[in-house]
Amino acid sequence: MLKPTKFLARSSIKSRLLDFTHHMYANGFNTTFDQVFQSLKGLKHIDLSDLNDWKSALRSIYCYNFQTYENFDELFDSFERQKNDLNKNKNTKSILSPIEGQTLTNETANDILNKDNEAEISNETKSKITASYLENNRKTDLKELIETDLQQRIHAAVLRIAKSIKHKRSRRLLAKKKGEKLDLRKIVSKSLAYEGYPLKLYKKSKPKKPMKIVTILDISGSMKIYSQIFLTFVKGLVGINQSTEVYLFHTRLMRVTDYLKENDTLKAVNRISMLTEGFSGGTKIGKSLKEFNNVYSRNFVNGKTVVMIISDGYDTGSSKIVAEELEKLKKRNCKIVWLNPLLGWENYAPVASSMKAASKYLDLFAPCNTLEHLENLEKELIEI
């Protein structure tokens, strides 16, 4: 979902670029001032009267991965559209519209930032901001006030879990005082100090490589009552280990890792609530796993990854696809952990067809309907 941006009625290219940068930042891009500076330099080398040139040049500078590359055009167009709407009544030029004959000067970064940006906010723009804020508050159903002590307990459990799956032995050898093997290269180079006699023996050994956690969280209707705990749980995981990846699914999959890097848990949960609004009813585990395998698994899953799926296993799609996709995922040599809140219930058996199909690919199948279960995960994760 596109986030509305505070547009200012500016005229110069620099101001427009700053507006554009704010717009991209508000919509999940990690923009830096360096990008504005590079854009200013880069725009000197293109035809400013051609909007496509603008788009291509800014795409090269503002994008930094596949996801941003995919979203760029939509965000650029929305920016252009909204700016045009804003300027329609003012009879001014659109935000990145053709600017014939306009040239750039080598003004420094500070010159640009020091300009008074706020003076030009129109009343119309102000009303837009208020509207979007009110709308924003209406959509925050998931954040329902997470209690502080609950947060603390979750945080402690997360810490222990993260610690239990922190490292894996690597095949590479690195220098170590009490290593297993002699480091001949180092011995020869250091022997120079002793006229070529290897007086000191240096050793190397296989280091422990950090493990990564990929969490795929079901946020369908049947899981709604657990959403609060699990979102806080995965937020905690991201906080402890920045390489943790988080995906939410329902009928489709969405990567929310970047949104969870927000310091404030409530804000993060709130942003995700907004993002997942467009999801329709039902749960499609197989389809979501397929999307994960096709788009993300190559980047984020390897032998040093624990994939943690948190779902009750109730699926409106085909269980055959779930099995196929888990098999594909397993080929990446990762560990697959399935946490099912229903497993904690008395007399529960994994009779849901997707759960049955999945069971043979799992390294760990554990309950997670109470905090105690999450806290006890540590022991089981050490063993996988």
């Binding site: 830096t32 080398h45 291509s56 040049a57 500078i61 120079l192 190559r298 390897n302």
Partner: protein
């Protein structure tokens, strides 16, 4: 040179770039930034570096990344054997040790690996850092200084600054995520599979002897194959291989002999599972679409 001139010049060198890619090259060269290219394997990321070196009539220095690649294999290493010999030779001379130190840590004893070599060229070379995702994350840290400052710091020797800034092309096949620090320093482009028209243009440019109707059929087939549920989708390199195979076997039309057509699919399908998915019947259907 404007981006459309780059596109035309690359075309003359048998490399057909999309407008978007040409713009990224143009921006990267003018801003003196590395160009990070991501995308599936076999879609011409590496070939671009070669084409650019021809375009700018300069040398191509290639660093192929792999797991365990370190500074001594990629940046520089001291020639230890030569240093030892030099020490031995100087043993009986009465020169003081300081002079020997200066001597053995001089440029004469420095082995230049690709990254340092790229900085010491008089004419800007094209530096290709290929498949960076195969190298370890630690290796990216080595690259940061080189890519942002175009210099290498050697503790025993000092800092070597680039005589001329190289045109840096970094490719990645997306097998792992690269660090933000590296990404921030680069101009980015994601190279997609080419659209039908572009792929046909590439095929006709690279293999002009193939009949235009057969070329159209080949491109159609490959485009249809890419939307099937297969593990490894064929890239442009595979399309060219397959087209050469089809042409070499004397097929004038894909519908001439489906058995032969199916047997040539080894050029396009690279896993056992994919071969099982695309049976002769499915291949027949794909050829008819």
């Amino acid at each position: 040179m404007q981006w459309n001139e780059i596109k035309t010049s690359l075309y003359d060198l048998d490399y057909i770039a999309s407008e978007d890619l040409a713009m990224s090259i143009h921006i990267a060269i003018n801003l003196e930034r590395p160009l990070l290219l991501e995308g599936e394997a076999g879609i011409g990321k590496t070939a671009l570096a070669l084409a650019l070196s021809k375009l700018y009539k300069t040398s191509l220095i290639r660093l192929q990344c792999y797991e365990g690649l370190d500074a001594s294999s990629s940046i520089y290493e001291w020639n230890y054997q030569k240093q030892l010999l030099s020490i031995r030779l100087n043993e009986n001379k009465n020169d003081n040790n300081v002079k020997i130190d200066d001597q053995i840590f001089s440029k004469e004893f420095l082995l230049e690996r690709p990254l340092l070599k790229a900085l010491t060229q008089k004419k800007s070379p094209v530096l290709l850092i290929d498949e960076i995702d195969r190298a370890d994350e630690e290796f990216e840290a080595y690259l940061l200084e080189i890519l942002s400052e175009y210099q290498v710091s050697i503790p025993e020797y000092g800092t070597i600054k680039a005589l001329s800034k190289p045109i840096v092309i970094i490719t990645s096949n997306n097998t792992r995520d690269l660090s933000d620090a590296l990404r921030r320093r680069c101009i980015y482009n994601y190279v997609y599979y080419p659209k039908k028209e572009l792929e046909l243009e590439i095929l006709q440019k690279k293999l002009p002897n193939i009949d235009s109707e057969l070329s159209r059929q080949i491109v159609n087939f490959v485009q249809n194959l890419r939307v099937q549920d297969i593990e490894k989708k064929p890239g442009i390199a595979e399309t060219l291989d397959w087209a050469a195979a089809i042409s070499g076997l004397g097929l004038k039309d894909l519908s001439d002999n489906y058995k032969v057509l199916h047997s040539t699919l080894v050029c396009l399908l690279k896993t056992e599972a994919d071969k099982a998915v695309i049976s002769q019947e499915i291949a027949q259907k794909l050829a008819k679409i």
